[in-house]
Amino acid sequence: MDISQYLEIFIEESKEHLQGLNTSLLELEKGTVSKDVINEVFRAAHTLKGMAATMGFKGMNLLTHDMENVLSEIRNDNIKVDAKLLDVLFQCLDALERFVDNIIETGSEGQDNNAEIIKNLNMILNGNNVVPETSHKEHGVDHNSLSETKSDSSDSKEHKYATIPFTDFEKHAFSSASKEKYNCFGITIYIADSCVLKSARAFIIFRTLENLGQIIKANPSVQDIEDENFDNDFSVFIVSKEDEVEVRRQLMTIAEVEEVLVGHIKVEDVEEGSTDESDDPIEIPQKESEQANSNTKSKPKTNRTVRVDIERLDTLMNLVSELIIIKNGLETVENTNQNFTDQIEYLERITTNLHDAVMKVRMVPIERVFNRFPRLIRDLSRQLEKNMEFHMSGEETELDRTVIDEIGDPLVHLIRNSADHGIEMPNVRAQNGKNPMGQVYLKAYQDGNNVVIEVADDGNGIDVKRVKAKAIEKGTISVEQGEVMSEQEIIELLFKPSFSTTDVISDVSGRGVGLDVVKTKIEALGGIIEVKNELGKGSKFIIRLPLTLAIIQALMVNIADEKYAIPLNTIQNIENVSIDDIKFIQNQEVINLRGQVIPVLRLYDILEVDKEPVNKDFITVVIVNKGDRKAGFVVDSLIGQQEIVIKTLGKFLASIKMIAGATILGDGDVALILDVNTLV
């Protein structure tokens, strides 16, 4: 049996329990000290302890064990929940997270023994003069004191091993071992009712036993134990150099082991008649037990979900892409046969559904990212000495897995920004007639083919004048430029590399690496970020991300004899504009569209097309938007809407920003996809 097969489950489940622990602790901190919440915290710590012990992660086990002691005292009303206690518990949580992170990265939990935290935990325990007689005594409250007395709880538990008969072979093993000055023990081990992975637990027990000595016999058989064909107890016989107390102590340190009953097997009792024939009789039974260990694979519990490597999903997605390309190819084949067109339509429906299905498989709720933010705000409130309340909504909104993995850091940045720069100190807020409690909002929702994430606060907002002054001081813009820039344009300066307005560099933010990184990241994900700002009232950062990354709907257009794709989700509408309606503002061609002035971009020039445009009285303008900003692309003609598969241009051409990628058309030709974000 190999423990690594459980590692992934362990990691996933640990994360879940840590998240649960986090939520409950925050709940406690809010002042809701209900039995339910405390039980929740206790349960999470207890389960983590058990899981860590199962996997043999000692540090994690020790820490959770001590946490559990404190929590159980809280549960018994012997310790009151206060800020100091919560701080220590949060420290524990962080330490556990570090353990799990280490396990993810290296497979081992690392060397940190968290002595400080454990000391604090024990101080809390002792400071309250708690008698260490708790309901968890049988879990071994003190690792050094040996519970030599069979505790009360063992009343109902029997020394079952005493009634198990031996075969001649086993008797022989005992007598030989005894002659070699080994101790022979019969052991009955009771596992807690609540234990989930009994076989895995048994595996740990067997591993411990193997370190102690040789296993002669197990009842039920090793095979049955590994298949979980036993109730809550099983008996084993071992020969060991260790004494009874040590054997029991070592077994009791394993979590979820409720009771261990150990007794000497006297060789006389076994009545071994014959003299020993072999020199090393222990060898054979050991081999037997090893064999039993190695040829049993634990059967994972059946589940209705399947864990799939993201790469396999990528492969699946690529194949769907290929299928769509072929389908597009078939559509261009000239065929007037009605049957053929029917079949093509059928195929199209299937590929579209297939694409949707694969997309859905890749979608995960954004909750996974959002979960860590309540804690972040809590820590920031402490650190910055500001009072803040955090509101989240739309955690169930789903996004592509790849986006989920990348979006965390930018959001952390924005939330830190809101807390640090946005929310004012409580006294300032009171002076301005605001609620001293600052509000930070995080919201996600789906909007058509986009997912929108908003980070907002009711703080002071962005001081545009200060930003402008700073930009001029830094030489980012000239005084004259500053004069003509709109508020929105000035705010956008914040996204320029190395631009930070905080005069004091704080731990939280203000190192000048921030918003530009956020912006780059979001644009790399095909998204955009914009800011809504009201001085004195707060600011809102709005992130728009595409639902899918690989396959999109696009409008195909002709520019001279070249074909380009414009992502459909960026297009607002298409206009036929008379040449006479084009006006000039500051040397820029614009049209006035229903009261809105929109700059007109001649793709002929921007794309450096090597032909003279044909002069027409009417031109086709595709109106695109990037957040609130709009622009009109002048194109020669429209080809139509098409589902396209995005492919990258590769490293050599990656520096060309205005092209987002390429796609293969039905006839096998390549068309480039325009990056509306950079063009507008």
Partner: protein, 152 residues
């Protein structure tokens, strides 16, 4: 047996594909070469470096294509029946090179390769490993790593 002897004898020899660009012959180490395809529709990519002709679709993959002529500062010639795109892979990146003609595959033993003295500031010097002799003809051996600079 014959094969074995031959292999032993040429243990030091590297295989090159000999191509024609203008009047000169160039050798490209065969270890880089993935494929050789006929010239096909190339989609121009705006703002690309001047020697990039654009991208092609090679069985569903988008591959950038560069012209060796342009890179060497020669004038562009019309594509002919013999024009080929050599698909090479360098540091994990696939790229196509347009050549006027593919002549042959040949082995050039180490001793038949002469390194050329290069001037320090000669950019083109970076493109060349040396000059190999093949049947009384001279073949300039391309240094693909220098020629296709990922950072440029």
């Amino acid at each position: 047996m014959d094969m074995n002897n031959k292999q032993l004898k040429n243990a030091e020899a590297t295989q090159y594909i000999v191509v024609k660009i203008g009047r000169e012959q160039y050798g490209i180490n065969i270890k880089y070469i993935q494929n050789i395809v006929r010239i096909q529709n190339i989609t121009r990519v705006p703002k690309a470096p001047y020697y990039f002709k654009g991208v092609i679709n090679l069985r569903g993959e988008i591959i950038p294509v560069m012209s060796i002529r342009l890179k060497f500062g020669l004038e562009v010639e019309e594509d002919t029946f013999n024009t080929r795109i050599i698909i090479v892979k360098i540091s994990g990146q696939v790229i196509g090179l347009i050549v006027d003609e593919v002549k042959e595959v040949t082995e050039i033993p180490e001793e038949d390769i002469q390194t050329v003295a290069r001037e320090a500031n000669d950019e083109r010097g970076n493109y060349i490993i040396g000059v190999g002799k093949v049947k009384n003809e001279l073949v300039t051996l391309l240094n693909l790593e220098g020629f296709i600079n990922l950072n440029s």
